[in-house]
């Protein structure tokens, strides 16, 4: 069983690695964006699928990362490389500052509060606060990555940078799932009172999830802004947040393959069916309903029982 999953994963990895050789530049761009969105979806999944916090404002953290890179580069002339750290740290700091006061809210109340953050964020961007954000147009002309005089400017470079970013994200997800931090999130998710009684601080682990999720989303945002060399508010609005939210649930929350499938279904398929123009979203809506009815836990639901093999021996 372990082998089969491993094999599929290996095949997918190979495919993803060689993908740029097969496709034209439009599909390469879609591929790159897929990788970036997958990172964001994973980071959303840390909060939603693992810690079980109803969070529908994730595009904000994604946008914070993107705008951090854009502003530092366009307005202050920093090199892209130098903006990487702030584009991770600033979303994390914002996550802490914003979410800490409301982390005790339950389910839907928190959902609306996070939507609210997202909307406020967009309003700040649109009103061009301090003249930094470029208002509704956003910022254009973001640089590419230079290392030792070499420019990583082609679409293929973008693709592989995104590929590496996804690799790092997956590594973090795996570490998380196998540590007490990931488990604590699950316990809180499944029964918060029982979790507390086992000595698990709801506040700490929910915030941990938010901060970690915001950091990954921020990194993805930075990558996104470099890929498009432009950022504008509507790429980070609530509709986008809803998309990340839906990706996780359609794919299968807390499930690594699930989230990848979800990103594919929710982002790549609409690109494929772009030709159908107007009726496309109708079909898409129907598909969302059907998916949930047929696979209420997502297309590839999570499996628990991730325990060391020496404990499985006695089990039936």
């Amino acid at each position: 069983m372990m082998n089969k999953t491993g094999l599929i994963a290996l095949l997918l990895l190979g495919f993803a690695g060689l993908y740029p050789l097969f496709v034209d530049s439009a599909w390469l761009a879609v591929g790159t964006t897929f990788l970036v969105f997958a990172c964001v979806a994973f980071s959303q999944d840390i909060i939603l699928g693992r810690a079980g916090v109803f969070h529908m404002g994730h595009a904000m953290f994604f946008g914070l990362g993107a705008y951090t890179t854009a502003i530092l580069n366009v307005q202050f002339g920093w090199a892209i490389l130098a903006t990487w750290i702030p584009s991770v740290v600033i979303p994390m700091a914002c996550a802490f500052a914003l979410v800490a006061p409301i982390i005790h809210l339950r389910g839907d109340y928190l959902l609306v509060a996070t939507i609210g953050f997202n909307i406020i964020f967009i309003q700040i961007l649109e009103n061009d606060v301090f003249g930094l954000t470029g208002g509704p147009n956003g910022l254009f002309g973001i640089d590419v990555v230079h290392v030792f005089g070499y420019d990583f400017s082609s679409q293929i470079h973008m693709y592989y940078m995104a590929f590496i970013l996804l690799g790092i994200t997956l590594f973090i997800m795996r570490s998380l799932d196998r540590s007490k931090f990931g488990r604590a999130m699950f316990y809180i998710h499944k029964d918060d009172i029982a979790a507390q009684s086992m000595g698990i601080s709801l506040r700490y682990y929910k915030l941990y999830a938010f901060i970690l999720g915001a950091g990954i989303a921020g990194a993805a945002g930075s990558m996104f802004s470099v890929q498009y060399s432009a950022v504008s508010p509507e790429a980070f609005n609530v509709t986008q947040s809803i998309m990340f939210f839906t990706i996780v649930l359609v794919g299968g929350s807390a499930s690594l393959p699930g989230v990848l499938i979800g990103t594919f279904v929710m982002f790549v398929l609409p690109e494929v069916f772009r030709e159908f123009e107007t009726a496309r979203y109708l079909v898409f809506g129907v598909a969302m309903i059907l998916t949930m009815i047929l696979r209420p836990r997502g297309i590839w639901p999570v499996k628990f029982g991730n325990i060391p093999s020496f404990l499985k021996k006695g089990a039936k």
């Binding site: 409301i102 339950r106 109340y109 609210g116 406020i120 309003q123 009172i193 009726a279 949930m292």
Partner: protein, 300 residues
């Protein structure tokens, strides 16, 4: 001073519309723990249905009680039917599924309704019959009140008070609350849960339909995608009041409308939404379950 009163009137009008829509959210939530994200789109749908009903039954420019009553009744009927259909097809199969799956289904349903409206009525803004309500307006000491506003304020108060008594004083109302708590136990009392859920969707959708028609009559221009905004505001209103709580939804709606008008009028247009959400978050920090939401300590 009259500017202030005028802002009050403006705010209460839009607030009543939010409240009507918020009731639909709150009722469905109360019984099914489902955030019915498609509800806003039903509201938009209603405005278009009203447009077609009026267009097909009356000649342009008719202003009569008959026209108003028939448009309201027929549209409410159609929308309620679609609401019930929605529940049947998109939500009932998910009753035992994890809560968030139904939320995704609701988001999908919203897309379906919105895009159906676009395919049927076209992507362009449509103009709701201008003569639907008489264009009478009254000017009282500098404040202007239109006939439409009076209709909105009075009819929505009647509907809200009626609903409150229905839920709290009647047997069906108590049964609705019982189903909201424990569906299996309700079945064991002989309550037909499916029927109760249907009633909820009929009432919620019909209230949304009324709101949709008022939006059309009040603002004239209706677009297939306008539901999202009303939906979101109403949802915020429901949360502000304490979701699942019927007086809470009304209070939340009115408060939101008023607050918005005052902020826009006296502080800033640009930052109105920011202020709204800051208010919401401040309320939630101090009252984590909304203004009227009971803090039911979970018994362990």
């Amino acid at each position: 001073m009259d500017i202030f009163l005028q802002q009050m009137v403006n705010g209460l009008t839009i607030g009543s519309l939010y409240a009507l829509v918020a009731l639909g959210y709150t009722m469905v939530y109360g019984v099914m723990r489902l955030i019915n994200f498609a509800h806003g789109d039903l509201v938009a749908f209603s405005a278009f249905v009203g447009l077609s009903v009026y267009g097909s039954l009356f000649s342009e420019g008719t202003t009569s009680l008959l026209a108003v009553v028939s448009v309201f009744l027929l549209s409410a009927l159609v929308v309620a039917f679609v609401g019930v259909l929605l529940e049947r097809l998109a939500y009932r199969p998910l009753r035992t599924a994890p809560r968030l799956s139904a939320v995704v289904s609701a988001l999908g349903a919203g897309l379906v309704i919105q895009n159906s409206v676009m395919l049927i009525w076209g992507p362009n803004m449509k103009i709701f019959p201008t003569d639907f309500f008489p264009s009478t307006l009254w000017s009282v000491g500098g404040i202007v009140i239109t006939f439409t506003q009076v209709m909105i304020l009075s009819l929505s108060s009647v509907l809200m008070v009626g609903l409150y008594f229905f839920i709290n004083q009647t047997k069906i109302g108590t049964a609705i609350r019982a189903v909201a708590i424990d569906q299996d136990a309700a079945k064991l009392m002989g309550i037909n849960v499916n029927r109760i859920v249907m009633i909820i969707f009929i009432i919620g959708s019909a209230l949304g339909a009324v709101a949709g028609l008022f939006i059309g009559a009040y603002y004239r221009g209706i677009t297939f995608d306008m539901g999202w905004m009303y939906g979101l505001n109403a949802f915020v209103a429901a949360i502000m009041g304490g979701i699942g709580n019927i007086p809470g939804a009304m209070l939340g709606g009115l408060l939101l409308g008023l607050f918005n008008a005052m902020i826009t009028g006296y502080i800033s247009t640009q930052w109105a939404e920011t202020f709204t959400f800051v208010l919401l978050i401040v309320i939630l920090v101090f009252r984590p379950t909304g203004i009227l939401g009971e803090k039911v300590a979970e018994k362990v």
